[in-house]
């Protein structure tokens, strides 16, 4: 064991001296390689953490939602539909929801206006999300006014601000009373945005949904499972322009690395020839060059992954912020919970370290099996 270890140490010494002879090239390659791994790992860590967080946080989202469709678009749902749904067997409760969007010209931001069912909000007052409070620099006691559908100004006194910790789900919320909501949009009293349905037996959700669909054919039914699936796919690893752009960079790097690893320079050929001439076995030469490749690729993986971890979980994924923000004025400030998938890290290790190492071995093997005299010439 000790002999084997000393042998590997000697080989590593030799591999390092070989890398040091091409210091500029090696450091350049290591830097580009590290950046590629760091960006890939950042996307991977970010999307995984976001998906896990979405799955946990949205686990309590409504079991079943019923929207009315008119000419293929979402339309307000009549109050009579609530009664019709309550009459469906298996339905425990059905409540009309009131929510929508409010554009605030002062902040040039869209808010999600909602009438909460868990608390009573006095007319003329509002509870805002932390994003809204930040966008308007509003604090408890301040007044925010909005123009209603008929041009009348409707003032809202800020009664409360939702905790910053919940920004990922509530940053843009603007919670008002039902009377204010209807006054703002001129909504008749028997119209709702959609209906929330709870069923008696959670295993029968799909059956109940089918029954509602049969009773109210002009509706679209959204199940909790579908909401969760939407979030699984929103940041799917394979999708999104970020990865498309990255794919170009990865491809460019792959070509660069392949060219660098597989195209042997005259100097490297000569080195192999000399090693063979002084008595090195082909297997030793291959082992030496594999070690060189491993040193570069493993270092790139380790540094790249560590940088990505710090970037996503300790520096708030600052590099992705402009991409995620898009044109949104209101963007939640949130720190992702560090959910890390060990299997994903292992996959990243495999796909970043092994291809490069293998790419270095093939040309070395080709050069190493040739007669030393021929190689040196």
């Amino acid at each position: 064991m000790r002999i084997w270890f000393n042998r590997q140490r000697a080989l590593l010494d030799f591999a390092l001296s070989s890398l040091r002879r091409r210091l500029g090239k090696t450091l350049g390659l290591l830097a580009v390689y590290t950046v590629i791994v760091a960006v890939l790992a950042s996307v991977m860590l970010f999307s995984h953490a976001l998906r896990r967080e979405a799955a946990l946080v949205l686990a309590g989202t409504p079991e079943l939602l019923v929207q009315r469709l008119l000419a293929g678009r979402h339309d307000l749902i009549p109050g009579a539909y609530v009664d019709a749904i309550r009459g469906v067997r298996g339905v425990r409760a059905a409540e009309g929801r009131l929510w929508g969007y409010l554009f605030d010209p002062a902040a040039a931001a869209n808010y999600t206006l909602m009438v909460p069912t868990d608390r009573k909000i006095a007319p003329g007052t509002v509870v805002v999300g932390s994003g809204v409070a930040a966008a308007r620099a509003a604090a408890i006691g301040d007044t925010m006014s909005f123009r209603a559908y008929d041009g009348q100004l409707v003032p809202f006194k800020v009664q409360g601000v939702i905790d910053k910790d919940s920004a990922l789900v509530a940053a843009d919320l603007f919670l008002v009373s039902e009377a204010d909501y209807r006054a703002l949009f001129g909504l008749p009293p028997d119209r709702f945005t959609d209906i929330v349905v709870t069923v008696r037996n959670p295993r029968e959700v799909r059956t109940v949904a089918e029954k509602i669909d049969a009773v109210l054919p002009d509706t679209r039914i959204i199940l909790r499972d579908e909401i969760l699936r939407t979030y699984e796919s929103v940041f799917d690893w394979r999708e999104g322009i970020l990865l498309v752009l990255l794919a170009g960079a990865i491809l460019a790097f792959a070509i660069f690395a392949w060219e660098k690893a597989s195209g042997l320079s005259a100097e490297e050929r000569r080195e192999i020839g000399i090693l063979k001439a002084v008595g090195w076995e082909t297997a030793d030469v291959i082992r030496l060059k594999t070690m060189e490749g491993m040193v570069v690729s493993a270092a790139a993986f380790l540094i790249g992954y560590l940088l990505a971890y710090l970037h996503v979980f300790h520096f708030g994924a600052a590099l992705f912020e402009p991409v995620l923000k898009g044109w949104s004025t209101l963007y939640p400030e949130f720190h992702l919970t560090p959910f890390v998938d060990e299997l994903q890290v292992a996959t990243l290790f495999f796909f970043t370290v092994f291809p490069y190492t293998l790419a270095t071995v093939v040309p070395i093997w080709r050069a190493a099996v040739v007669d030393p005299d021929q190689v040196m010439r």
Partner: protein, 113 residues
């Protein structure tokens, strides 16, 4: 490696560590740091438990359906509630014009029909 071949390395000064030992040491530190990230992640998840539960409770209480990731358009703010032909819902031939629309997929075919 044959024993008869001497390593063509520059002679090391006595007391100075071998480059291989230094690199092995650096790799050991990096692997340790990698292990620390897993420990840090596990601690972070445990510490975030109450806040996550609070968020989940808020979602349940208010009946929220979506994350506040993109507030620029209604189909990016509430992708799970968007019309079937989002993101091109404003006009059948309208091109997607919000940057975040390029980041997320249109809802997959869902529902019962």
């Amino acid at each position: 490696m044959p024993k008869t071949v001497s390593t063509p390395m520059p002679a090391r000064r006595p007391g100075r560590p071998r480059p291989a030992d230094m690199v092995i040491g650096l790799f050991a530190v990096a692997v340790l740091a990698l292990a620390v990230t897993f420990v840090d992640a596990a601690r972070g998840v445990a510490a975030a438990g109450p806040a996550l539960a609070e968020r989940a409770k808020l979602v349940e209480r208010l009946g929220l359906t979506d994350l506040v990731l993109f507030t620029e358009a209604r189909y990016t703010r509430h992708p799970s509630q968007a019309d079937r032909h989002a993101a091109f819902q404003d006009h059948p031939f309208a091109f997607e014009h919000f940057p975040s629309g390029a980041l997320m997929t249109a809802p997959r075919p869902q529902g019962f029909r």
